[in-house]
């Protein structure tokens, strides 16, 4: 069944602030966050550890009160309408060790079905179906304290779907999972959203690839502020105003300089087969890193190759990653421990430091 279009946004947050009392000084976890998430959207909060993502999700799931600011979930106020919000949402966190080890998977899920008011028999039926859906049939009668981490997270995900939530909050759902288990969880999230239209997902993560591929829009968070919001493509476009291609040819008489003169070509340098600058590789192909003003200029380059007697062996476009976006905004990577000054107003990118100065290695070299 297709749900009618929701006019009410799934999330509306205005100037959310949250300070934790701590010694030696208070911790400002959120420093004025504004957020709008449309109904049916798959929205991501991407940022390093300590950015404030979990604090924000706890506020939206009514577990934590903001120090100031307001927020609504489908029009319901997080302070005044907590019960109503709890009826239509659910949450799944990564690294969750909750539950009662002595119960089986089936019993654990049934217990939670009762908390959502399901009749007993309906609860058992739903639990059995969800167990099948998430791929835990073989573990259904196994005690919770004997599950592997991946199995436990699948069970948690099943718990998150028990009440058919209108909005599902996922707080680092693949934390600590191996590649296969993480992939399963991501597939389950997508499958659920595809199966039941109109449902909203708010995902927090520090895995950029996860946010890049799952989310329709992403907010990049750091030091309690949202630095930028947009689709993954739009965000990457902020940092890459040009189009970068890797062009592999069977030959190029005259070298890359022949391409440099073409309109729309910003730079053309030789690259080796593994992407580093170098000489021709053993297979006698010529690889060139091309920087163009825009994608349209590619046509000119391709057209110019035939008269030169060159044939294209491979063509690939290089895109910046979300970490590039983060570095552009903040001046450091997710793993960079060096202090970087926060941006002036939280909404415009800071002047990047370090990585672009002369003599510093490029990001791709660091990896």
């Amino acid at each position: 069944m297709t749900a009618p279009v929701q006019r009410v946004p799934a999330i509306e947050a205005r100037d959310i602030r949250r300070t934790y009392k701590a010694r030696p000084r208070d911790v400002v976890a959120l420093d004025g966050v504004d957020l709008d998430v449309a109904a049916g959207e798959f929205f991501g909060l991407l940022g390093p550890n300590g950015a404030g993502k979990t604090t924000l999700i706890k506020i939206l799931t009514t577990l934590l009160a903001p120090s100031s600011g307001t927020a609504r979930v489908f029009g319901f106020d997080i302070e005044g309408d907590t019960r109503k919000i709890r009826r239509i949402m659910n949450m799944v966190a990564g690294g969750e060790q909750s539950g009662y080890g002595i119960l089986t998977v089936r019993e654990q899920l049934w217990m939670f079905s009762q908390f959502y008011g399901m009749p007993g028999a309906v609860g058992w039926r739903r639990v059995d179906e969800l167990i099948e859906a998430v791929g835990l049939e073989e573990q259904r009668l196994q005690r919770v304290n004997s599950l592997s981490t991946g199995q436990r997270q699948k069970m948690n995900f099943a718990r998150g779907l028990l009440n058919d939530p209108w909005i599902l909050f996922l707080d680092e759902p693949t934390l600590g999972l191996d590649v296969s288990a993480a992939r399963s969880v991501r597939e389950l999230v997508l499958a659920w959203q595809a199966a039941v239209s109109g449902r909203t997902v708010l995902l927090t993560t520090h895995y950029m690839a996860e946010a890049d591929e799952l989310c329709e829009r992403i907010a990049i968070v750091d030091h309690g502020r949202i630095l930028a919001i947009g689709s993954p493509t739009d965000l990457k476009r902020r940092v890459q105003r040009e189009s970068v291609f890797r062009l592999e040819l069977d030959r190029l008489d005259g070298g890359p300089a022949r391409l440099f003169r073409l309109p729309g070509v910003v730079s053309a340098v030789l690259a080796s087969a593994d992407g580093h600058e170098g000489t021709e590789d053993a297979r006698q192909t010529v690889a060139v890193n091309l920087v163009l003003t825009d994608d349209g200029a590619l046509g000119e380059v391709v057209a110019a190759l035939a008269p030169l007697g060159s044939h294209i062996v491979a063509l690939a476009k290089s895109e910046p990653t979300l970490e590039d976006v983060f570095v552009e905004l903040v001046g450091r990577g997710f793993e960079d421990e060096a202090e970087a000054p926060p941006p002036d107003d939280g909404l415009t990118p800071a002047v990047p430091q370090g990585a672009h100065e002369a003599g510093e290695p490029e990001l791709e070299d660091v990896v």
């Binding site: 060790q97 009662y100 080890g101 002595i102 119960l103 304290n145 004997s146």
Partner: protein, 325 residues
Amino acid sequence: MSDPTTPPPVPAGFAPLRIPGWEDFDPARARGGGLRGHWRGFTTAVRIGWATEANWTDPLLFFIYSVAKPVSAALILVVMLEVIGGATSRQYRSFVVVGSALWAMVFSGIAGLAWSILEDRERYRMIKYVYVSPADFLVVMTGRAVARVAVGAMGTIITLAVGVVLLGVPFDPFRVDWPLLAVVTVLGMVAIVSVGIVLGAVVMQTRQEAWQYPEAVAGALFLVSGAVFPLAVLPFAAQVVGLLTPLAWWIEGSRRALLPDSVSSIGGEGSAWLDLTGTVAPSTPEIVVALLVTGAAGTLAAGLAFRSSERRAKDRGLLDQTTGS
């Protein structure tokens, strides 16, 4: 570009401990510290236990564990005596106050190791890290238990003080048999901790609700230890169980040291001791020997029980489970 054959520089903090002549691997580190290592682990655990459990800086907790609990327990018995009234009850007041005060140490010791295991397993989730450290698991847990016994000892002293000051317990420091008190206290602590070790062995196998088990065990031992009534009141078979319990001898020895004129909890008219030995009450050397023998047997049994439980827990993956319900 850096030479891939050259290892990257090691940050200063990561520099390995280097022993001359053993540049790569020092086998001595895998041999363990022997008795010295055990002692170090034990004393460290005692310090940790004392830091976490002794409540000098928190008046509320100090009040709860060292004043309210032990004094209340004594008062329950005193009022029971008052309710009945009469010469018998007055005669027994010192008896029950001393026994009840000593029981504060018993409860702390029994609960100490068991609660340490439960806390580390269920609350702090540290037990696996403690277990895989080079320190012996039993030694570390015993150290934590000893710290709790020391906390219980504070309660004992306070209750005795209340008994002397407010409840008329006749205490004369010049009549106290201090050497006997010292001996039975040391041997008694070993006995108490050994009971705690047995209970620790049990809780390694059970689930979170085991928090209540120390109370149940202490209460059950209350019956056969002569803490608040002479064993002679019990049926013969129960008295024999009491005679085999080190706690009964510890209480008898402590009470005799503190109150030389006190009624014996082991002997007396109608007692199994009288039937078995022909003497009304055990002598001081008999008390010490009995405490030593029963304590040694109990400690040996406790050690075996703990190791067996440890093996079973390791076999079944129970050491780092969480079991709430």
